[in-house]
């Protein structure tokens, strides 16, 4: 069942004005309808512009095959698997699925529980590489901060892990994430973790 977690603001790049948005826990028909009717056609059309998967990844449509309807179904039936979204201007602006059954790999927090961001995607119209004039900025940071909040609520100390796209690695490093060697050699993305100390620092101006 969808629950409103709280209000946030996203920056409308077209007007340079912040607009009120809300973070939701769990997805409903509105979010899944947005995905199927608005996200998917744009992502698939953009994907068709690239000759192969590698080019599509470079163009930031590597998630063209993700199925958020399935992710939502999975979250409803799996303990520790949660979906979040950001709604603004009547539309779903970003989606995230987290898995809180995972354990940390960073030497300082090895084997401690963490919230793993399994998938995080902004709406295609908010992506700088997908449309010429992307609309909202800030949905990614808001969802990462939400994952850290969930980690604190679960008493995991704010520990979060994720695989970052190459173009966003620097941003995650600046946020305080540490790169940790990934034990799965098949993964081509670098794995990052935020420690409890880094999470506290990340949110220090927050409360």
């Amino acid at each position: 069942m969808k629950q409103v977690v709280g209000p946030v603001d996203l920056l409308n790049r077209h007007t340079s004005v912040f607009e009120e948005a809300c973070i939701v826990h769990g997805l409903d028909e509105l979010n899944l309808d947005d995905f199927e009717r608005h996200w998917q056609p744009m992502l698939q059309a953009r994907r068709a512009e690239f000759p192969d998967y590698a080019a599509a990844c470079a163009g930031n449509v590597q998630d063209w095959h993700w199925d958020w309807v399935f992710e939502s179904y999975k979250a409803q039936h799996t303990l520790g698997y949660d979906t979040f979204g950001i709604e603004c201007d009547g539309r779903t602006q970003a989606l995230m699925v987290v898995d809180s059954n995972q354990f940390a790999l960073h030497p300082s927090q090895q084997r401690k529980e963490l919230v793993h961001i399994a998938r995080l995607a902004t709406a295609p119209w908010n992506r700088t590489k997908t449309v010429e004039h992307p609309k909202y900025k800030g949905a990614g940071r808001a969802l990462v901060a939400t994952a850290i909040s969930l980690s604190i609520e679960l008493e995991f100390g704010g520990r979060v892990g994720l695989h970052a796209l190459p173009q966003s690695e620097d941003w995650y490093r600046r946020c305080g994430f540490f790169e940790v060697p990934d034990p799965n050699p098949k993964n081509t993305l670098k794995y990052f973790e935020m420690t409890a100390d880094a999470a506290a620092k990340f949110l220090q101006e927050g409360e």
Partner: protein, 161 residues
């Protein structure tokens, strides 16, 4: 659940953040190197889809699964599975291709090309797929020759070019 940050904090961070993509995911697999590709005519796409249908059906038979069993195990719909096996005019959805790719450990890039989901197709993949498909019969079980051809074709799909 409560958010452990304020709206003011988020606004100030968004203002100072660079404009970068922040998408994240847990499993992007190693990609094959780029190979020569050509744009396919419609009739070639139909031939590739016929070959894809043969491939999926034979992989299923190799694992001794019925359509219903494979659909359940790979979390896909039976109707879509029937369509991809028998209807060369059916456009497979990305999710279906992805699940089949994961289930049978066949690269998604190759399945996508065989499904006509890409603008261009690797020329040697096209030739190999058509050659593989013409050697198969539409039977309910695999002959030894078909199994050998299937395994050779899958190995070809899995090999890096």
């Amino acid at each position: 659940m409560k958010l452990h940050f304020s709206r003011d904090w988020l606004r100030s961070k968004i203002s100072s953040d660079p404009d970068v993509e922040v998408e994240a995911c847990s499993a992007l697999r190693a990609l094959p190197a780029a190979a020569p590709e050509v744009v396919m005519a419609e009739r070639n796409v139909v031939q590739l889809r016929l070959a894809l249908g043969v491939l999926v059906r034979q992989l299923r038979l190799r694992e001794q699964l019925s359509i219903a069993e494979l659909a359940r195990k790979a979390q896909i719909s039976e109707d879509e599975l029937r369509s991809i096996e028998h209807d060369p005019h059916y456009t497979a959805k990305p999710y279906l291709l992805f699940q089949l790719s994961e289930f049978f450990d066949v690269p998604l890039t190759k399945l996508s090309q065989m499904a006509g989901a890409t603008h261009s197709v690797n020329r040697s993949l096209y030739n190999d797929a058509v050659r593989y498909a013409v050697r198969s019969d539409d039977l309910d079980s695999l002959t030894e020759d078909e199994l050998r051809d299937l395994n050779a074709f899958v190995a070809l799909l899995q090999s890096r070019e």
